[in-house]
Homo-oligomer: 236 residues x 2
Amino acid sequence: MRYELYYWPGIQGRGEFVRLALEEAGADYVDVVRRKGGMRRMLKMLASKRLEHPPFAPPFLKAGPLIVGQTANILLFLATRHRLAPANEAGRLWVHQLQLTIADLVAEAHDTHHPIAASLYYEDQKAEARRAAKAFIAERIPKFLGYFERVLERSGSTFLAGRKLSYVDLSLFQIVEGLRYAFPRAMNRTERKFPRVVALHDRVAARPRIAAYLASKRRIAFNEDGIFRRYPELDA
Amino acid sequence: MRYELYYWPGIQGRGEFVRLALEEAGADYVDVVRRKGGMRRMLKMLASKRLEHPPFAPPFLKAGPLIVGQTANILLFLATRHRLAPANEAGRLWVHQLQLTIADLVAEAHDTHHPIAASLYYEDQKAEARRAAKAFIAERIPKFLGYFERVLERSGSTFLAGRKLSYVDLSLFQIVEGLRYAFPRAMNRTERKFPRVVALHDRVAARPRIAAYLASKRRIAFNEDGIFRRYPELDA
């Protein structure tokens, strides 16, 4: 069965966490909206009154008759099929808990450039964004990365949960990538305090399937339409 | 076994979604931090380097040896034990997907009064809060409630997912409660457009265990330290 991933084209965004899991699993999938007619199909599904489980927003994944939405929920679904999380309940919940903490971080990273409203232009909330980014860099990046550093220390492994890679390792890789893109100066100062997080990032990047993906055209470059945006004025 | 719920005292906050599930299940639980010495215990656990699964933030639930964090993840865990979600995978994922959409709404509701940083006082981001709340009321409340209205219409039942109550029904009840508290004028104009959502709220409120809980001292009143805050200047 070929998975169908539905997500906004042209950005990594939240879809990237799903792409990384599909790539690491070697799963057969198509990134629907990057193909001709895909946007129309996605918008039709979002507006549908007939779908049994209508998604609120992209990304969502079609797996045969099943449509699964919400990034962390998609990963929960994929994990059981592709061994991307421990099989026992405690381990599964733990990985999911970490993923939901990543989701919180992603939302906060987005809000640094859109603190007032997602519907307004960045230019219309630039002053507010500067204040929001300042607090995010000073308080939130260290708090989140410090937490994952502590989890890695406690796990006694090179992965966050147990001795094997799980989807949240892929997501933490993506967080480091995104923060480095958006806040290169701040991360240059900060990331050395979190050597285990950086080492995990490097290990994930070197995994054969991930390395092949990152070098391929399937990996969209970071840009200023995504969640992680490089606005030098926010990288103080 | 008695569950131990750890959450900030004095507010409903995110802990309330867990409390509602525990109450509806008739589960035996203690709200640890509302008891003597509870705050010290919670802070110790949050700072611990020895816990196998250290939580990032409250709420978290201790269930015997297991510690489960992140609101939606706690509900996922409780659902399998207390039949608060369908037993089949598709139904479980669907309820969780809806819960994660609720979580997004909760974060956005919080950010109406703290758009710049959670670490700053409301007074230091009041002008920004006014702009954020205006967009939230005009765009986001209708979008979210409209979505849940559509889900209820499509479910063909009085509940969001299937013919039986699930934890996300309890959470949507709490959303209506919170929005009515924080934005009484806006909700008075808006909620009539979402009759199924309002009817679900009323049905949940009338359930014997929920009604008993709401009338008890265990239900903390809404106040201006929580997620839903009544600042008249934001209720335009």
